[in-house]
């Protein structure tokens, strides 16, 4: 058996290890081992590639220096970021990492175009095989969209850019025109057997622009969908290049990541009862929606202090905590866990209820609670806990709003009608920690605020929870 076959088998092994890495995430106990499988898979893929390059005599000193410098610089930056980043900014980090995968895919496509012999894709007449050109073009186009799209998503999540949708006039027309131009350039590239490198650069540049125009109209609150979608794109870009490189590990990984991102986008859309296409068309969900044209809300609400809340919860037998993005912004998760500990000492049963779209990316709340040492078996998903609100004495809503709004079930004219909600209205008492009376990002009033058994706790989430801890 020659080395090409052995290395193909080794790539297959690393592809299988990547599958096991994802499989491990089915439960927290197996996940750590899964992550290890992923690392081993990656080491095998890199090791085999280097060995086969060595076998072909391609590893001259200059090449070794380029590769070592690249990996060393990248590795140090990567490890530093991974150790320093806070859990609250995980969505930004993931968006930034997506952009790097996108750009790496573009760079590999450029390399293949300029050195087809090294990739074994030359047609023997000075040009490049048509099939490889299609794969390369797709790889660079998707990679470039992923890159700029993720940069925009990063800027919106990180607050470098307003979360409000930016609506260009005739934006759909612009996007369609860019798309058509990309297709025309891909055809040009194939007809000229890859000799028209200007066409390749044209694809690259137009796709970079397309990434921007596709993502800027999407509002900050829809970013969970966007981040998942870009995750999926980065996978498809990798898969396209996997075909060019005839590399099984890359093809398998691309398919895994592509379907993973697609499923997460679907889950996020379902959590908001939004159609995927209406989300990516954009124009909805800025961080603060414009006030509706209706009458200004003047109805009285029952307002309480931290001590009142402490008293109510101390005398409860079951409290369900509903965290939202507001908790993340206020960094209140540690204080919250302290409060839960105190309550448990008093013999109160405490559970956490997480809505699928709470936070700015899938699973964001779970990570924040885990960071604050909340045991994961106290944290429940919507379907598992909704039936329990009826038996709860207190629903403690911290930094969430729309995901509890009963209008989603009762008011067909509401913007959020049909969205699955956490049924906090069934609890005996509802405590809402909010900064003010503003509506949620969907711009919808929450009827719950005016109910007799609701007590509003106005103030910064962290300070309020610390106040409650003192009161216990």
């Amino acid at each position: 058996m020659d080395f090409a076959n052995i290395s193909a088998l080794a790539y297959l092994v690393s592809g299988v290890l990547f599958i096991l890495a994802l499989r491990g995430l089915s439960s927290p106990e197996t996940s750590r081992k899964g992550n290890l499988y992923g690392m081993v898979g990656m080491a095998i893929a890199i090791g085999v590639t280097l060995l086969s390059l060595l076998g072909k005599g391609d590893l001259d000193p200059v090449t070794i220096v380029i590769i070592l410098c690249g990996i060393a610089v990248g590795g140090i930056i990567g490890m530093t970021i991974a150790q320093k980043v806070s859990m609250t900014s995980m969505p930004q980090l993931v968006a930034a990492f997506h952009s790097l995968v996108g750009m790496a895919a573009c760079m590999v496509a450029i390399g293949a175009l300029y050195a087809p012999q090294a990739f074994g894709i030359d047609d023997g007449a000075g040009g490049i095989k048509a099939q490889s050109l299609i794969e390369l073009s797709l790889g660079v186009a998707i990679g470039a969209i992923t890159f700029t799209g993720s940069v925009i998503a990063f800027a919106k999540l990180n607050g470098n850019m307003s979360g409000a949708p930016i609506i260009l006039p005739a934006r759909h027309l612009i996007n369609i025109a860019l798309g058509v131009a990309v297709v025309v350039l891909i055809v040009t590239l194939i007809i000229t057997h890859g000799l028209a490198t200007w066409a390749f650069w044209g694809i690259f540049i137009l796709a970079l622009v397309l990434g921007i125009t596709l993502i800027i109209p999407i509002g900050g609150a829809d970013m969970p969908v966007v981040v998942s979608m870009l995750n999926s794109y980065s996978g498809w870009a990798a898969a396209a290049l996997g075909f060019t490189l005839e590399n099984i590990a890359l093809i398998i990984t691309g398919a895994l990541v592509g379907s993973s991102g697609a499923i997460l986008s679907y889950i996020m859309c379902k959590g908001m009862n939004r159609n995927f296409f209406s989300v990516i068309m954009g124009g909805f969900g800025g961080d603060t929606a414009a006030a509706g044209g209706g009458a200004v809300e003047t109805r009285p609400v029952k307002q309480g202090s931290a001590d009142d809340a402490a008293f109510i919860m101390k005398n409860a037998s079951k409290v369900i905590i509903v965290p939202g993005y507001g908790m993340a912004v206020a960094q209140a998760q540690h204080a919250l866990r302290e409060m839960a500990d105190k309550l448990k000492e008093e013999g109160v049963e405490v559970k956490y209820a997480i809505h699928p779209v709470a936070g700015r990316m899938p699973g964001h709340m779970n990570v924040l609670l885990a960071e604050a040492n909340v045991p994961y078996d106290e944290v429940f998903e919507l379907e598992d806990i909704n039936s329990e609100f009826a038996t709860a004495d207190v629903a403690f809503v911290i930094g969430a709003n729309d995901v509890t709004n009963p209008a989603a079930k009762t008011d067909p004219s509401s913007a959020i009608f049909g969205m699955p909600i956490l049924e906090v209205e069934k609890a005996r008492t509802i405590l809402f920690i909010k900064r003010g009376m503003s509506a949620g990002y969907a711009g919808v009033e929450n009827e719950l605020f005016f109910k007799d058994n609701t007590m509003m706790l106005f103030g910064d989430a962290k300070k309020m929870v610390e106040g409650i801890v003192k009161g216990l």
Binding site: S31, G74, L100, A115, G254, A370
Partner: protein, 109 residues
Amino acid sequence: MEAVDPTIFRLAIFVLAIFVGYYVVWSVTPALHTPLMAVTNAISSVIIVGALIAAAAHADGAGIGVWVSKGAGGIASALAAVNIFGGFMVTRRMLAMYKKKEKPAGEKK
């Protein structure tokens, strides 16, 4: 029998891997969706194999093109390395935080 183009086999692997991905990802617990995104990020950086090949393009080839390829390969290696090290490390950091409820000492299961 005529030989089947190897690309068809790769396509078959690709399609089957999409199905594997579909079922595996649906079995991921929603609590671990953030680590899932971080780790998919890390593994998609296996694109580094392409970067290494580009960086190793032969210098005796077609002149300037080879150096474009080597440069692009070097940059791609660095970008992918950020993701590989950063992605796996941050996933590990997150997963280490997921703990079970501690059973009070002396209490029987």
